[in-house]
Symmetry: C2
Subunit: 258 residues, 2 copies
């Protein structure tokens, strides 16, 4: 299970403040803390409505790279900010994200190819988010096919079936699990998959319980990675335990401590 930390996001008040004040120390401490808590990748999001997003993204990347070698994910809807982030990254990056919209694929697949970056592919198109697994699977197939035309290898693709809040679209819970199962059949080797886990509990009361139950369900279906909160220790324990139960890490009595 690849844990992608969602915490370096300008939407969080303290992070937004650190970004606005270019407080390198605060950002670096946050980054190191996420890695210590088990993050394999840090998702970097400047927060919404920033005028100078390319410059801010570059600053975020460089600031964090100064203190850790962990993989970085450039999370922005703006291609210019994405490219600024990619230029600054000195190792393999992740792009978060393209959709199946033609314009976005045409803008982002060339970037992913040029920088040999991994790319998150959201199963939504001009018509919005599909409400069943089958249509999600069709969009996944479309994105893989288009990516291949740009000579992007399937190993660099992370399919994201788009989790919706259980309180708002409850029937999408099983649909996303089914989609993860379907995606496994799309190619050999199987395409990687990722979700923005916390979406499931958006607006709900039992956020951590919903997040961790759903994470286990998705891991059982074959999920590769989740954008999630490494500060949630119960959730991190489920992730570790899932890897044990799926025989991906060797069982030992003290596996939680490893």
């Amino acid at each position: 299970m690849i844990v992608i930390s969602e915490r370096i996001n300008g939407l969080f008040k303290s992070v937004g403040k650190a970004i606005d004040g270019r407080d390198a120390n605060a950002i670096q401490q946050l980054a190191l803390d996420q890695v210590k808590k088990g993050a394999d990748i840090l998702d970097l999001n400047t927060g919404p409505g920033m005028d100078n997003e390319p410059e801010v993204m570059e600053w975020l990347v460089k600031t964090i790279q100064d203190v850790t070698d962990v993989q970085l994910s450039i999370d922005t809807p703006k291609p210019e900010a994405m490219e600024a982030g990619l230029k600054a990254v000195n190792k393999k990056a992740m792009l978060n994200s393209t959709t199946a919209e033609q314009k976005r694929m045409e803008a982002l697949f060339p970037l992913a190819k040029e920088y040999d970056a991994e790319i998150v592919c959201l199963t939504l198109d001009e018509k919005g988010i599909p409400n069943d697994a089958m249509r999600r699977n069709e969009l996944a197939m479309l994105m893989i096919t288009q990516a291949m035309e740009y000579d992007i290898s399937v190993e660099n693709i992370y399919l994201d079936p788009l989790i919706l809040p259980v309180g708002a679209a409850q029937n999408q819970g099983p649909a996303v699990i089914e989609a993860i199962n379907m995606f496994k059949m799309l190619s050999d080797p199987t395409p990687k998959t990722v979700v923005g886990l916390s979406n499931i509990s958006n607006g709900a009361k039992q956020r951590s319980l919903l997040n961790r139950t759903y994470l286990a369900m998705l891991m059982g279906a074959g999920l590769t990675a989740a954008i999630m909160d490494p500060n949630d220790l119960d959730l991190m324990h489920i992730a570790k335990t899932g890897d044990i139960l799926l025989n991906k890490k060797l069982y030992a009595h003290d596996y939680l401590q490893v």
Copy 2:
């Protein structure tokens, strides 16, 4: 998610003592407590090595039926004890269990038919427990086919892929998830499935965490029922949350209290 309580089992010291002393009050309180904690079915097991097991099983059934209408599962390897339990039950019973061994199927399928009982079918045969999902699926198919020859409807069958302890047979964790997925294809309507959940953590340190992570994974794959411990509140919360995430029960902010 159907919760089958594993607690009325002579293996537990206090329960064994209550059975030996024919302490009806203690057994009845235990039964009511399990129902209150969310058990949909009570699994009744006298414990091992009992000379007069048929008489004890009959006493257990009658004692519990005096105070609750909850469904009962007659859990014993001995056909005579099973029949004694079945005769005493005044509603639909569950038989736990047959295997794919010819002798057991020949002894137990006629009983299940005669009493119109549900029957747990363990995927093991004369050669033991298979070590992959495919062979479990073959044995499941064999049992369904044989049951049909006894005119038992598939609605009365619970397939059990047999969980093994993660510390002893770690590669069987994913195999059982895969088996649950495979079983869904065996018939229409899909056959019901059940597991003895606590087996996964037998001998392990983080028992509750392993149990609840695995339960969520199996629910995501389509598990119908689990023999488990309703005393474990964290585990019961996962079961309830799983039903919400699978859209089987309607989400409400206070769904844990319902």
